[in-house]
Symmetry: C2
Subunit: 453 residues, 2 copies
């Protein structure tokens, strides 16, 4: 997506810019390490699927304040002319380490590490968080829906109720990343090179004199299409499809009917029976209307003969968990580990790596350690940007990320596939090295605090 | 915003385009009336504040398929060359009636009415719903937060956790519309001409050797600033501010301290006491961290001496109600009322108006009627676009919408200000004219269905 590449550098919180001027005024040009992570899994999530990195890297590569941006900043009365002049030359020149998109992550594990002069690293906080948060929230929800659909088709129908244009494009991307078959959103399909799907709306049926005329017009125009049967009376709608099959004979080529209201379980069974009795075994059943992973799983558990699911609202806003407590925190500055101690929000200091043990192809536990600690073969964070440029060969594109995401979900311990709140927690440890560093800083801080008394 | 004006016309669901070709192929060029409304208030909402109209009108005025869009559509193998050629000339030439932004609306009340040749009205469904839904969801949440803050400052801090870039800009806009004082988002502040606010981050404190050095550097640079006191130990942080006041003497000019963790009620009281004892009565207290209308109201009920609130995550994703069941439904085509009967999702046929009774300055009840039925003086839907062009003088801008929004909230019945699920429902009726039209269509439909047996 070029949206992020051409996004104004003013897409940031005001305090990032005021802090930047203060660092600049203090001649603080040391290297900072910021880590993006979340602290707690929300109810209804046993893991998070990381996403958003490609867009973050686009933004970092394109970061610059243009003349209009600088003009606006001058007008705020907060910034000196020299600083604004200096801002004009600011580019992102740092390094980034990150877990590849589609990787499954857990609380306190760094997802993205930004290593750069402190001003640059501070200025990009808002965008990094905005994209990693939103895309990870949406990918995590989609991964659950896809998992619940047990190999059946899942199509993103979220464009109309996603939170704005960017989110509508994103939910198409992250759903595909997480294993969905495609999206209804044409722009997203073009931008990301993913399949576009569509059926028909009630308005189409309503605009025609009769349901069967609407079906016939659509089916003649679109071989292999899907017909929406619930505008007036669902099972009578199914009968109209059967009538159409008789009318068109050999020319009848309809892939599926779509149910969009009512008791989808009972209706799908009744519809399947009528279609089968009419010999229309090859006409599938596609369902939509208020679906999420819980509804999909319940329908399939109940034996509903549904071949595909259109999932909209509850997917596109991640309705049960629309936010994570994701943060972007300074862990090192000028070579020294940094932390904060305010209640209940600990930051582990220093640059870190996540080591994952894998046993028999299944994730067995993670340790958050120091980069050198070699605690397991699998190290989640990899270098993706060096001196402000993407590392060649890192970004293999959405299809590769999708394959990686599937491998990740396949390697989850069985308990994490459960849709219920797992009593079992995936084992996550902090290495002795990291724990010691935190204690050392705590001790120093206590000494400083006592001196000040 | 120009984002919507330059948005590709491909920001639509695929079925809008396949239906458009079917209408075109059938020579169906009659005028359609589509209405946007929601069916049910979600838990935790007693009203919805309508928003998003300005962006919808921008999009409608700019609607066109460019060469890249047409090229992509040709490649899908669904559309004839003639149709794609014809699409190149499609513009939005219809009329729009709508409730002004900031208007309080209730279930089944049309928010936006699109009256246009059916192809045009169908193609814009996705964008109309995406914007009206997202902006109304976010404005409704913000209205509650502002109401709960009882006149205190509310600042949108949502940029980092809103669902993408568009939502981050939108939440700044809709929060301001609903009465917030400003936003932390610099780009949104510039785009919408609203005040930008900022404090400082923990990283700033952490990067300095000591907390007081960080405070001093920031306070010297930014007279009237806000200092974040909870990085290491909140009340010691307050003591550092007091120490700074002594150090700087007359030059000490700090507007507020900010609390961002822990028990905000207890900490604000203890901080207030320390500041007052030190004679710093004019230093206010600004609070953030996990706030929403419930927390804000509870803090104020408890007498917390907090002067302003930074509200982020729970506002920017409307965490407790991130979606409405908002629909865009055909109610009339070629002069004939249209409906559907599928279970539990009734559509009232025909073009409608919302009549609102006002008694002693308070909303007393609404009736959804036919446009001609003069059921009350106050008619919510007004013409905003004619033949594809904004009606001059309609759009008075964000400040006027904000004043309108405030009047609307002030005129709510007292029960609707309650944050708890109201047992009392605002009275909404359907006029005899609309009810009769629905019954007539139901009867006709039964006749058609019986004929077909």
């Amino acid at each position: 997506m070029t949206l992020r590449q051409h996004l104004s550098a003013l897409f940031t919180d005001l305090y990032e810019v005021t802090m930047a001027q203060a660092y600049w005024a203090q001649r603080m040009s040391g290297t900072a390490v910021f880590e993006t992570f979340f602290r707690k899994l929300p109810r209804g999530r046993s893991y998070v699927m990381a996403a958003g990195l490609a867009d973050v890297l686009d933004f970092l590569e394109g970061l610059r304040f243009d003349e209009a941006d600088l003009h606006y900043l001058r007008g705020l009365g907060l910034f000196s002319d020299e600083f604004v002049q200096w801002l004009a030359g600011v580019r992102f020149t740092g390094d980034v380490w990150a877990v590849p998109e589609g990787t499954v992550v857990f609380p306190n594990e760094p997802i993205v590490q930004v290593i750069a002069p402190i001003v640059e690293a501070q200025l990009v906080e808002t965008l990094v968080l905005n994209q990693i948060h939103c895309q990870s929230v949406l990918a995590s929800k989609a991964a659950r829906v896809v998992d619940a659909a047990r190999g059946r088709v899942v199509v993103d129908f979220g464009a109309r109720r996603a939170h704005g244009i960017d989110a509508a494009l994103t939910v198409a991307r992250t759903s595909y990343l997480a294993g969905a078959t495609g999206t209804s959103n044409v722009l997203a399909a073009r931008e990301y090179g993913i399949p576009a799907f569509g059926t028909m709306a009630h308005s189409f049926i309503q605009a025609f004199g009769t349901e069967i005329d609407a079906f016939e017009a659509f089916a003649r125009l679109y071989p292999g299409t899907t017909l929406l049967v619930d505008t007036y009376d669902t099972l009578r709608g199914v009968d109209r499809v059967i009538e159409l099959a008789k009318r068109l004979g050999q020319r009848f080529d309809v892939r599926a009917i779509r149910l969009d209201s009512g008791d989808l379980g009972a209706l799908s069974k009744a519809a399947r029976a009528r279609l089968d009795t009419a010999g229309l075994h090859r006409v599938g059943i596609f369902a939509s209307s208020g679906l999420d992973e819980y509804r999909v799983a319940a329908l399939l558990d109940d034996g509903a003969p549904i071949d595909g699911f259109g999932v909209g609202t509850r997917l596109c806003v991640a309705e049960d968990a629309p936010a994570l407590d994701m943060a972007y925190k300074l862990v090192e500055y000028a070579g020294v580990g940094r932390t904060k101690f305010s209640s209940d929000k600990v930051i582990y200091p220093g640059r870190k790596q996540v080591f994952r043990r894998i046993e028999d192809g299944t994730f067995a536990g993670d340790t958050i350690g120091e980069p050198g600690e070699g605690l397991a073969d699998e190290q989640l964070l990899v270098p993706v940007m060096k001196d402000g440029r993407r590392i060649t060969g890192y970004d293999a594109g959405l299809e590769a990320a999708r394959a990686h995401a599937r491998q990740q979900v396949d390697a989850l311990p069985p308990q994490l596939h459960s849709l219920e709140d797992a009593r079992w927690s995936y084992p996550i440890a902090v290495s002795a090295g990291v724990a010691t560093e935190l204690e050392t800083l705590r001790h120093q801080q206590r000494l400083v605090a006592e001196e000040k008394r």
